[in-house]
């Protein structure tokens, strides 16, 4: 048996809408069988997983909050990946961003350093520091690549673990809350050092807006600017780019800085947004999840927005399924994997006709 792919002459609207539906149905059938085997109701599971989170105000907010760091990081990564540079250390850049920005939050705790000028400058400075922290950390693999030819895949990944341990050490040592009974956490930042919430008593913080803005700017850069063209050219045709006189070293550093800055911004948004303090772990793996988001969104900012929301839905729906149906978390995680694969298949099906030929050699 072999599978042949024939490019479709043109994309059609029907396919663009139909394919995701087919993907969803396929995933539901796979998941439904397993759920049925576990003795639960597949229809109820469907409702709890996919529908309920989209109907309630609070869960819609949670979707946005969960998608926010994914969008910021993935948009940054799309610069690297378009240029064919493999930054897989966004998790580390996220952490250093949160760390550097959070440091200011700790320093200014209890209105320290606010005095005459007030505290208006704190939050913006934290965000800037966050971006700087991420950018500087991303510069390490970029410089090592440009100077010494060291593979950025390895260096950026290894630096993730170093950042995790660094955060751990700081939060247990110098950054520890002196009144925290020696538990590993910093002080809770003053309100002025927290991202404002978009509604009273809710969890939707202003970081979500930053994520939207970042995606819009990136969309503009990719579509309209010379720089966006340069990034793509270097990725797709490095030799042509060199003939055109583009400096690939400078570009390597630039895309890493952009990518690191956005990951760092995501880190500080998470720290100053929903966490409100520094703790030994500030990311449940956003830096890695964002890699899927980037590719699921086909490295386009708009695609990334949609993909991040899909991912967020699988987390929130998965939790709801654990609560409502007592499904084990492993079940929801396996289903997340199946769903992602189905979406990927659907995506390819919009571009190619898939033909199965039985009995033919590959």
């Amino acid at each position: 048996m072999r599978i042949d792919l024939e490019p479709r002459p043109a994309r059609t609207l029907a396919l663009d809408i139909g394919a995701p539906i087919v993907a969803l149905v396929a995933a539901i059938i796979f998941g439904g069988i397993v759920i049925w085997l576990l003795g639960k109701s597949p229809t109820l599971a469907f409702e709890v997983y996919f529908i309920n989170p989209l109907l309630e105000g609070w869960s819609l907010q949670e979707l946005a909050v969960k998608a926010c760091p994914l969008v910021l990081i993935a948009v940054g990564l799309s610069f690297c990946y378009r240029a064919n540079l493999w930054n897989i250390g966004a998790e580390g850049q996220f952490i250093t961003g949160g760390l550097l920005g959070g440091w200011l939050g700790i320093l200014t705790h209890n209105e320290a350093y606010q005095g005459l000028i007030g505290g208006w400058w704190i939050l913006p400075s934290m965000l800037v520091l966050g971006a700087i922290g991420g950018a500087l950390y991303a510069l390490i693999p970029a410089l090592l690549r440009v100077w010494l030819g060291a593979s950025e895949i390895l260096t950026s990944l290894m630096l993730v673990y170093v950042a995790e341990l660094g955060l751990d050490w700081l939060v247990r040592g110098p950054f520890k809350d002196p009144e925290g009974f020696n538990f590993p956490q910093s002080v809770v930042f003053d309100d002025i050092a927290r991202l404002p919430f978009l509604a009273e008593g809710e969890r939707l913080h202003a970081g979500v807006l930053l994520a939207l803005i970042a995606a819009l700017i990136a969309a503009f850069v990719f579509a309209r600017s010379l720089f966006g063209f340069e990034v793509r050219l270097i990725g797709e045709a490095p030799r042509a780019a060199r003939f055109a006189g583009f400096d690939d070293r400078k570009l390597t550093l630039t895309v890493f800085v952009i990518s690191g800055a956005l990951a760092g911004l995501a880190g500080i948004c998470e720290v100053a947004g929903q966490i409100g303090q520094l703790t030994p772990k500030i990311s449940p793996g956003y830096g890695f999840t964002a890699i899927i988001v980037a590719f699921l969104g086909r490295l386009s900012p708009v695609g990334i927005l949609v993909a991040a929301l899909v991912l967020a839905l699988t987390y929130i729906g998965g939790e709801a399924a654990q609560v409502e149906l007592s499904l084990p978390s492993d079940m929801t995680r396996a289903f997340q994997g199946i769903l992602l694969m189905c979406v990927l298949v659907a995506d390819i099906a919009t571009r190619y006709r898939i033909r199965l030929r039985l009995g033919a050699a590959a």
């Binding site: 792919l5 899927i292 590719f295 084990p328 492993d330 990927l344 590959a362």
Partner: protein, 307 residues
């Protein structure tokens, strides 16, 4: 340091390095054929779960190891279907495979939590294994260790000395010309992917059958990612995998010894040592060398047969 202690430390380094070698050598072959499978962690944990399940049910370590291999291979087949059959983006598919594997292994392993079996027996050759300093190190390891070394040697030979190995490398370096030469690009890639999965599955089985002989969800604890990094570290050359794995495993084990001997450095700094050591070693190896020269040129690019 007594000879016994010296040997004990080195043996710990070897056990820490073995799962990394196994998983990395498989991924190396996959990548040499031009396929980037980021799902090593997912294939590995499936191998760990099913390897333990098979061994527990049958009472045989060998059958367990085979189950682990089959589990990893099946996962790789799924990945191959997506990325080679359907030309889907490899990075996204690999990450999805990892998520899927972590979840599925937890589900399938539920019934085996809290069970234990004896670790795989170690080789013992009268006389040889009892030699001081190196006896046990060389002649007293468990079978997985020898399997890992044989796999590396076999892979090195296969890639550099055989026609099929040459075809595999050609596929990874330029699939268009390989196709033009009449080489079966997709079949080669699929087989290389299966081999990668089999090795990752065996690496997982090593964890539950020899390293820490019980099953627990999430017990690979990121080793699949380290294996991926080691392939890069090795510049896609088989024997350098062994070097990298021993370096990483050695740094991991030695920092624990440094702590036990109380040097008074922060534990986090010592725990970061393996990662930093790997970076520094890479810098030495790659400084002055041709930039990324060894990376298969078509790595990660889907192949769609022209018509």
């Amino acid at each position: 340091m007594t000879s016994e202690m010296f040997q004990l430390i080195l043996m710990t380094v070897v056990t820490a390095a073995t799962p990394l070698i196994l998983a990395a050598i498989g991924e190396l072959v996959t990548e040499r054929a031009g396929v980037l499978n980021l799902g090593v962690e997912g294939m590995m944990i499936m191998g760990a779960a099913l390897g333990f399940a098979g061994a527990y049910a049958s009472g045989s370590t060998t059958i367990g190891a085979l189950c682990g291999i089959v589990a990893g291979t099946l996962m790789a087949a799924l990945f191959g279907l997506l990325t080679i059959g359907l030309a889907i983006n490899q990075v996204a598919s690999g990450l999805a495979l990892t998520i899927f594997g972590l979840g599925l292994s937890g589900l399938l392993g539920t019934g085996f939590v809290g069970l234990k079996r004896d670790a795989a027996p170690q080789l013992h050759i009268q006389g040889l294994s009892d030699l001081p300093y190196m006896g046990e190190l060389v002649f007293g390891e468990d079978p997985f260790v020898y399997a890992a070394i044989l796999l590396v040697a076999g892979t090195a030979w296969f890639l550099s000395r055989t026609r099929a190995g040459l075809a595999l490398r050609a596929t990874g370096d330029n699939h268009q010309s390989a196709h033009a030469l009449g080489l079966p690009v997709r079949r080669t890639r699929f087989l290389a992917t299966l081999f990668g999965g089999a090795c990752a599955g065996l690496a997982g089985a090593y964890l539950t059958l020899a390293y820490t002989p019980f099953w627990s969800p999430g017990m690979t604890a990121g080793r699949g990612w380290i294996a991926l990094a080691l392939v890069v570290f090795a510049s896609w050359r088989p024997w350098r995998i062994v070097l990298g794995a021993l370096l990483f495993g050695g740094a991991t084990v030695l920092q624990l010894h440094a702590q036990a001997a109380s040097f008074g450095l922060p534990g986090q700094l010592l725990s970061a040592a393996p990662y930093l050591a790997t970076i520094v070693a890479l810098l030495f190896l790659s400084s002055g060398a041709r930039r990324n020269a060894a990376a298969p040129a078509a790595l990660g690019q889907p192949f769609i047969a022209p018509r």
